[in-house]
């Protein structure tokens, strides 16, 4: 399995642990990722506020680069995915937009015809690698861990339209269950984390994050399918607690970090020391869980 890979700015910077763990787990699963040469920012949620054309052309340039490399393009960031898939559709459905976007792209020496196929990392893991293969590679089952799968909005609305229920996706739940985790039912699994509002309008951003953290209840951790969601849910727990007079301290991991843990990969390779909320509590619980399940039938008793 070979793909062109688009890391995006979030995974290359403030969510470096997402990128590190993604590389480590994909290597472990035999997925070959070649970083898209000379990729640029997709415009995040900011480009639309300045220029409609740039909001399509910035992601379209990356698609054009993938097209030139004759590869499918994979990204692990849901915000980037949303912008990229939007560019695919907007150029495909509107000749005038396509023409103007290509006029802009000509400034960078590329053109986009709509050939490159876009994939989300979760899509690749579930559908190309396959859950059966993932199950085979688990060496340290996450027994005893109660995990919230947080798909995020950019995921729920677009990715799964291809292969999962859009309003109530389950592929992430299935992946976590394959790793041995106890998946927590989470009604806000496709609710938006507020994106950059945590920085630009803290009072609103913190409230949105607070709602998500509170809905996780007493789960052991939240796992996200987007580096930007992970940054938000990790970095603003104090502020989020402040909006509802409570105190949050729940580890938030990227999906390949939790996969890497179940694969028994070294913590450092998964960037686990970089998570804003320390994840040490998980190590203890995995160890306890493993001890319990290797014991007798009492493991399946009430807890």
């Amino acid at each position: 399995m070979k793909y062109a890979y688009y890391p995006g700015c979030s995974a290359s910077g403030t969510s470096k642990e997402a990128e590190e763990s993604l590389q480590a787990t994909m290597r472990y699963l035999g997925v070959e990722l070649t970083e898209l040469e000379d990729w640029n920012c997709c415009g995040a949620a900011m480009a639309t506020g300045v220029s409609y054309l740039l909001s399509v052309a910035l992601p379209a340039r990356n698609l054009a680069l993938a097209e030139r490399a004759e590869s499918d393009l994979v990204t692990g960031c849901s915000r980037c995915y949303l912008n990229l898939i939007r560019a695919v559709h907007y150029t495909q459905h509107n000749a005038s937009v396509r023409e103007k976007v290509n006029t802009l792209l000509a400034e960078t020496g590329v053109q986009y015809s709509g050939k490159a196929r876009l994939r989300h990392l979760l899509d690749v893991i579930v559908n190309d690698v396959g859950l059966d293969v993932v199950a085979e590679r688990v060496t340290r089952p996450l027994d005893g861990l109660r995990i919230v799968p947080y798909y995020g909005c950019c995921q729920g609305m677009w990715t799964y339209a291809q292969f999962d229920s859009v309003e109530d996706p389950h592929c992430f739940d299935q992946l976590l269950a394959t790793l041995g985790a106890q998946v927590v039912d989470y009604p806000l699994k496709t609710a938006c984390c507020g994106g950059t509002l945590s920085m630009s309008k803290r009072s609103v951003g913190a409230k949105l994050i607070g709602d998500l953290l509170a809905a996780a209840g007493d789960a052991d951790c939240i796992v996200t399918a987007c580096p930007l969601c992970m940054f938000n849910l990790n970095s603003f727990q104090k502020e989020a607690g402040g909006t509802r007079g409570t105190h949050f301290n729940i580890p938030v991991l990227f999906l390949t970090q939790i996969m890497g843990l179940a694969f028994g990969l070294p913590e450092k390779a998964l960037g686990l020391q970089r998570n804003a909320v320390p994840v040490d509590s998980l190590y203890r619980k995995i160890a306890v869980g493993a001890a319990v399940s290797s014991g007798e039938a009492s493991a399946s008793g009430p807890r």
């Binding site: 054309l53 340039r61 802009l104 496709t190 938006c192």
Partner: protein, 192 residues
């Protein structure tokens, strides 16, 4: 579930939104299809903080009261998650219409100055480097009001301590070409 494929197809197909719209450019756009069911507002996590919710913004557009929608700054709270667009049973491109309102707000100085600077600082950083760079962004964002930087101190220190902020800006080969693309877009869209 969600929208029927044909309505989603509609929402995916931008019509008259290519240019930075003026109030008059918006007239005749597909907000006329909106029958005010409110599914957009129900799907919106930031509607609670908006003066006019997405449904009310669509209504203001229908009534020709675009300027009120723009002045309210409601578009600036849109996170562009596209939940409203995806769910709209009428195939209205609600998110792109909110973005158009957002652009008008930012262009007409009705905007919250901090949010306005946030957009500008972000896009200027991308224009210069082709990619985002946290440090340069923060400098640009807080330059006029450095005391506000304290609201980012706790996040910033954690990021530094965990080795997630680099002082050196990212380097890509096509930096200059990206900047040229920004200039070309401004030219086509008639922006200064």
């Amino acid at each position: 579930m969600g929208a029927q494929p044909n309505t989603l197809e509609r929402a995916w197909t931008p019509r008259t939104l290519e240019h930075t719209p003026s109030s008059t450019d918006l007239v005749g756009n597909d907000f006329s299809l909106c029958y005010q069911c409110g599914l957009c507002t129900g799907s919106c996590r930031t509607a609670y903080a908006m003066k006019y919710t997405p449904r009310q913004v669509m209504n203001l557009l229908q009534l020709g009261r675009t300027d009120e929608a723009v002045a309210s700054g409601s578009g600036l709270l849109c996170t562009a998650c596209y939940s409203c667009t995806f769910r709209c049973p009428r195939g209205v491109a609600v998110t792109d219409l909110m973005a158009a309102i957002q652009r008008l707000s930012l262009a007409q100085r009705h905007a919250d100055p901090h949010i306005r600077r946030f957009y500008q600082a972000f896009m200027r950083t991308v224009e210069r480097h082709g990619r985002f760079h946290e440090v340069e962004f923060l400098v640009r964002y807080y330059a006029p009001n450095p005391l506000r930087l304290r609201e980012q101190v706790s996040v910033g220190l954690t990021l530094l301590r965990k080795g997630k902020i680099t002082l050196k800006p990212p380097k890509m080969q096509s930096q200059k070409a990206i900047a040229a693309m920004f200039r070309k877009a401004a030219q086509i869209e008639g922006r200064p």
